[in-house]
Amino acid sequence: MWNELASLLPEALWETAQMVTVSSLVALALGIPLGVVLVATDRGGIAPNPALSRVLGAIVNATRSVPFIILMVAIIPFTRLIAQTSIGTTAAMVPLSIAAIPFLGRLVEAAIREVPRTLIEAARAMGASPLQIVVKVLLPEARPGIVAAFTITVISSIGYSAIAGAIGAGGLGALGIQYGYERFDTPVMVATVVVLIAIVQLIQFAGDRLARRLGHR
């Protein structure tokens, strides 16, 4: 049993790491701009565009209200287009990313809204353009909040990756469900859960530390 675990666990861990890393990076690349656009285009924002704001908000809400397991199935054609397959670790990265982008986007939006309005006003008074306000004021000032938001996104991606595991994506979730739950192999299930807990703790700890270091408050 221990031998089996020793060979399965590292592989599962690696698959989870791949899925979570890729989807988190995609979320980082697209979720932060999404958050910025949500704030900027809002009524009274630095580049108001109520129509765009409303459309984006609706898309974000829709994506976020679809249960992940349904989202995975619903976007299979899209997944196939991107990943050339609809099953396995690589394929799971697509729905994981699609779920993580609006998730992080909303959290980044909230983090940016925490930046005091008077700082935006001060920047405008100095002759800053909307883009300069984003780059020089909003993002740096919201950095601790954005780091915290990203930490939450990574952790929630770990959770979603376990759901993806249930339908053939591999990873720690699959290991726990197939070997532990379905075969009544309690030690494997416990070991998987312990590893997951350890990873989440580690990521939360690192995220908190980084956020604190960046926040000169």
């Binding site: 005091p116 008077t118 700082l119 006003e121 008074a125 002759g127 740096p140 960046l214």
Partner: protein
């Protein structure tokens, strides 16, 4: 330097519109320190924000250094704003930047090279007395230090105008005095035209050359600080200078003050400089057949010069009152008639 003509600003609310400015005309000369005083909600903050178009007026024009800002395209307006510095009640420093990086921000936004920014920032920090704090973050500064950084930052792009939005309202009295002294230094050293808004008469008295009193979105009184202080006309101005209004005076007099009347004992406000203070009361009593009741009085420093105001009731007939008035005019004491009280048995007539 600054010319506001026919400024109106209406905020569209969900229910009713709010008229923050209802036709404001204002001229601020180059190199002066101009104060705008008003209660909260009087429109002073909107007025200040109209000068650099953080708020766009609903109607009217804003000219700064001869340029009509309301006619500028966005890029040109941003360029023009670099010539107008601004400081804020709560400092508005970026918490993610050190003191130096905060002060250099306006130059960074203007796309100046790094070396130029570095060489511009240090002398400014020295000017505001914070060169030792340059690598600190705003959270590590006291309120007074933070406002000094705010001032250094506002000066970084060498603006001709500095707008101060309640710059001392979050500070204790001692720190307020030091920040006001710094503003005067800025004005003298760089010739910067300063416009400040406040709800404290003390601030106006301390640094301003001229003052405008704003109430209900209109300028109700303006002029040299000294003149406004010695002879406040509008009721709101009287409360700002701490003078009792007609109702309070009636209580103090123990009789109804008739502001429009002409008979009975005259109630005057006398305004004078320190040197004249002692002689005024004595001379009046000795020279004329009158009794003098002192109702209230105060000595205040205006622009570093002591000025006194005294509210007195003259128990005298009309002819004596006129004579006394002529005498006071001749010795340079300012007289404003606040009203009359009728007293039975007390009047000499």
């Amino acid at each position: 330097m600054i010319e506001l003509v026919g400024l109106h600003k209406t905020y569209r609310g969900p229910g009713e519109n709010v008229e923050a400015l209802r036709g404001v005309d204002l001229r601020v000369e180059r190199g002066e320190i101009f104060g705008v005083i008003g209660r909260s909600g009087a429109g002073k903050s909107t007025l200040l924000r109209c000068i650099n178009l953080l708020e766009r007026p609903t109607a009217g024009t804003v000219r700064v250094a001869g340029v009509d800002l309301t006619a500028l395209a966005p890029a040109a307006l941003r360029e023009a704003r670099r010539g107008i510095g601004m400081i804020f009640q709560h400092f508005a420093l970026l918490s993610s930047r050190t003191v130096r990086e905060n002060v250099g921000l306006p130059l960074e936004l203007a796309g100046r090279p790094r070396a130029e920014i570095a060489s511009a920032v240090d002398p400014l920090l020295e000017f505001v007395g914070l060169e030792a704090m340059r690598d600190r973050y705003p959270a590590q500064l006291s309120g007074g230090q933070a406002q000094r950084v705010g001032i250094a930052r506002a000066l970084a792009a060498r603006p001709g105008v500095l707008l101060c939005d309640e710059a001392t309202s979050a500070l204790d009295p001692e720190t307020t005095a030091s920040i006001l002294a710094l503003l005067r230094d800025v004005n003298r050293t760089f010739g910067t035209t300063i416009v400040l808004i406040t709800h404290e008469m003390g601030v106006i008295k301390e640094v301003c050359d001229r003052v405008a009193v704003i109430d209900g979105g209109r300028i109700v009184e303006s002029g040299r600080v000294r003149d406004v202080f010695l002879a406040p006309r509008a009721a709101i101005t009287r409360t700002f200078v701490g003078e009792p209004d007609a109702a309070e005076l009636s209580v103090m007099l123990g009789a109804e003050l008739d502001e429009r009347g002409s008979g009975g004992n005259a109630v005057w406000r006398l305004g004078f400089t320190e040197s004249a203070r002692e002689s005024v009361v004595t001379a009046l009593i000795r020279r004329f057949a009158l009794e003098l009741n002192i109702v209230s009085g105060a000595i205040e420093r205006v622009g570093g010069e002591p000025l006194g105001t005294l509210v007195v009731e003259l128990v005298a007939d009309a002819a004596t009152q006129a004579e006394a008035r002529r005498y006071l005019d001749s010795v340079g004491v300012r007289v404003d008639v606040l009203g009359y009280v009728e007293r039975t048995g007390k009047s000499l007539t």
